[in-house]
Amino acid sequence: MILHTLLSYEFLRVVWWLLLGVLLIGFAVTDGFDLGTGMLLPFAGRNDLERRVIINSVGPIWEGNQVWLILGGGAIFAAWPQLYAVSFSGFYLAMFAILVALILRPVAFKFRSKRDDASWKARWDLALFIGGFVPSLIFGVAMGNVLQGVPFRFGPDMHIFYDGSFFGLLNPFALLCGLVSVAMLVMHGSAWLQLKTQGPVAQRARAYGSVAAVATVVLYALAGFMLWSFVDGYRVTSSLPPDGPSNPLLKTAEVHASAWFTNYAASPWLYVVPALGLGGALIALLGLRMRAEMLTLVSSGLSIAGIILSVGVSMFPFILPSSIDPRASLTVFDSSSSHLTLFIMLVVTVIFIPIIVAYTSWVYYVLRGKVDADAIREDRGHAY
């Protein structure tokens, strides 16, 4: 294999850093509205039929959307093995909570309407709510902890040691980030329900969605302010050759106040990214008021993309800073897979992502239009 040297190691690493963002955004934007509708389920749907309408609005597609998360896990494993190893083992119990939520969700979709029993359905509705709320909150909390640095270090043979606890994750800044995540996904879920439902469900979705959009703007701005005033960033203090071996211990780094804003200071045009996060949410709010269904969904999706991307831009080249041993921090240039693996994975990704986007779009196209409450009432078709 000599072919892979056509693309430099540095280039591949930056591309895979971008793809990491694409996968996270792909998950948050597609499965995000599934999680959001799950959280809205008990509130936007007041009787069984309304709730079934909500569930069926995502029924045929949530499974495909969730693959973004599975692919994200696999791609992090393949392209950023140390990020996968440190974060999944470090956030162990938080990951377990996410898993429980994600185990409940598929079965809740499938099992809920298989028995005509109010308490049975109520239990699965709760499962769908938990399945939406817990991952949304934890993903945000995790992001908040990553921004503050995570207490891990490496032994001499690269064994990973993690000195934190589950409750240590739940600090004020991280919880604030968790709320940002919940708010933006509720906003996105509302945008979806506005598009796919009608009548009282869509009406309530608009009301909750407006609150969520305002909350997204306020909480995100507050988190940005907190990050600026109270959260220290990290910076590399030695050379970090962009084509060097993937061994984090070969560099040095330190905690430095306001380091998370140096990229923005160096290239002010990057403020476009957080502006997209705020602006998208504001336009989504407008869209909900104006009942501009497509505009709302697209702009809330852009808002999510902006919010996620703004974290990445702020931390670059850091991916996962270590609070107890900054030198162990994972960066874009010392924690990736080998040159060859990144190349092969890029080739596979470049071939398959367009195919996936094409057939996913076709599926959405076939399923376009509002959910038909009459069909669900009469139990026609394979409605959940």
Partner: protein
């Protein structure tokens, strides 16, 4: 305490993997069977085949949801519980998992929704294509996960990089065409087909016994018997033992499966029955069939199959080589920042680096393998023998069940060609009671493959004991209990819903139903709309 963490981590992985594999084989097999049924429907236009597709599709759906739910756990667990493993081999092992997502999961998960919701939105042919895409997607996922698993058994195309302290890909093509992976793929997919075929056969036999849905049940039995016969022949004849002899430790696996303590002159005898005793290293009450093992295992009369004692001796030699590689690696690592690596150390590592993993076997007993006593080296070599009795019996029960599936499906195949499917009620009862057996065989298959690989997680490269995350025992107990609790509740609910759906039976000849979605007037979609269905 360290050992407890390893044992608990293994327990959790085994529980969640065996549980996940209750659903996977049925998904793989039933997807294909349903696609075959729908193909017949589209080709003949007979409504009953559509009813069959829909009925088995409902059962497929219940099972599929469980497979999805438990599958995410598997992917996350490598990082959660096996963080050193993830660091050490992620460069190689992660790629097939990611490709599995790109090529397989997206395909099956995107189209499975349309399979259920698309009956009235798609033309017959378009829906059939959707169904096949689900089937192809689930089979592809088996391919990629078995390429990953095959690499754990036979780690080809990769080398240790002293700068990054991990294994890295050197030849991705070799990872793809790994003979162990290919053998495993054929074997595992055939096992999935067998599970599904006997499931369909057994459920249909129950309907015939009850005199319900006779038309549908008999047609289903015909499909299941012929599909199942081909699958069970394939699963037994193309067992993945053929790939085992390619590497040193897989030889150990074969020797352990056969409880072959000493090397015998070729061709070796097959021990049809016996009680292996790991401590005394002999098999009590052994019944030997001369020459058979040599013939199966090597397909020759002259190739020797090494016995356990010889392989332990070889492992001990490898450990000594591994210690020198470990020593050289430490010198390279310590010099790492200064850049002055002694030439001798580099040469030694070049020559002996392949045995580095053997030195890591000593980490159970001593932090620095270089300081190991001769007793510890001998003990570590003994550790390379997996649990012989468990393997011996798991393997025999699995193979015995495989033979039974051939007989069972062949019987019903013959009955079907003679149109006598309902002639022998006792045979129908056998088919009903056979439903759980393929699952037993499939789970035993994984026990053979993975227990047989111990003490390695990546054979010859990384011992299981050093691959775990540094988690607390309490933390692990919380998650193990959590999984057991949730999984138990879910399997009870799942079984109840399956049984309820089976008892309720298929909806035969329903009026074509409009969709859940309000169709819009859109002339462009005309081609996708379903055409009126012809009556049978």
């Amino acid at each position: 305490m360290d050992l407890d963490i390893v044992a608990l981590s293994r327990l959790q992985f085994a529980l969640t993997a065996l549980y996940h594999f209750l659903f996977v084989p049925l998904t793989i097999g039933l997807a294909v069977i349903v696609a075959i049924m729908e193909t017949v429907y589209v080709m003949t236009g007979r409504i009953i085949w559509r009813d069959m597709t829909k009925f088995w599709g409902v059962l497929f759906g219940i099972n599929f949801a469980m497979g999805v739910a438990t599958g995410i756990v598997m992917e996350f667990q490598f990082g959660m519980n096996w963080s050193y493993y993830s660091h050490y081999v992620g460069d190689v092992f992660g790629a097939p998992l990611a490709i599995e997502g790109l090529m397989a999961f997206f395909l099956e998960a995107s189209f499975v929704g349309l399979f259920f919701f698309g009956w009235d939105k798609l033309s017959k042919v378009a829906h059939l294509i959707v169904t096949w895409l689900v089937a192809i997607g689930s089979n592809f996922s088996a391919l990629w996960i078995l390429i990953a698993n095959g690499w754990m058994q036979n780690p080809v195309g990769a080398a240790f990089n002293p700068q990054t302290l991990r294994m890295e890909v050197t030849d991705f093509f070799a990872v793809l065409v790994n003979p162990v992976a290919q053998a495993k793929f054929v074997h595992t997919v055939s096992a999935g087909y067998t599970v599904a075929a006997i499931f369909v056969l057994g459920v249909s036999a129950w309907y015939v016994l009850k005199g319900r849905h006779l038309q549908l049940a008999k047609r289903s039995m015909t499909v299941a018997a012929s599909f199942g016969l081909a699958a069970s022949l394939s699963v037994v004849l193309l067992g993945d033992e053929s790939g085992y002899l390619s590497t040193e430790h897989q030889k150990m696996k074969v020797a352990a499966l056969e409880a072959m303590w000493k090397t015998e002159p070729a061709p070796a005898a097959f021990t049809a029955f016996g009680f292996p005793d790991q401590r005394t290293r002999e098999t009590h009450f052994a019944v030997h069939i001369p020459m058979l093992l040599g013939l199966i295992g090597t397909r020759s009369l002259t190739t020797e199959i090494p016995g356990i004692d010889d392989l332990v001796h070889r492992a001990e030699l490898n450990i000594r080589v591994g210690i020198s590689a470990y020593d050289a690696l430490q010198q390279i690592r310590e010099a790492g920042s200064t850049g002055a690596v002694p030439e001798s150390a580099r040469n030694i590592f070049e020559q002996n680096g392949h045995a580095l993993g053997y030195a890591l076997l000593l980490k159970r007993y001593v932090d620095d393998p270089r300081k190991a006593t001769p007793e510890q080296v001998a003990q570590a070599a003994q550790d390379t023998v997996p649990a012989v009795a468990e393997l011996y019996w798991s393997f025999r029960i699995m193979v015995g069940l495989g033979m039974f599936f051939i007989v069972l499906t062949a019987t019903f195949f013959v009955l079907s060609t003679r149109r006598k499917l309902d002639a022998y009620p006792w045979l129908l009862k056998v088919a009903v009671f056979a439903i759980p057996l393929p699952w037993l065989a499939a789970e035993l298959g994984w026990i053979v493959a993975e227990v047989g690989r111990q003490p390695w997680v990546i054979e010859g490269v990384l011992p299981t004991a050093v691959a775990v995350s540094n988690l607390g025992a309490t933390t692990l107990l919380i998650t193990i209990l959590g999984f057991v609790l949730i999984y138990t509740i879910l399997i009870v609910i799942e079984m109840k819903l399956m049984l309820k759906a089976i008892r309720k039976g298929p909806k035969e000849q329903p009026v074509p139903a409009p969709s859940v979605y309000r169709a819009e007037a859109d002339p462009e979609l005309g081609a996708l709309r379903s055409t009126p269905l012809s009556a049978d």
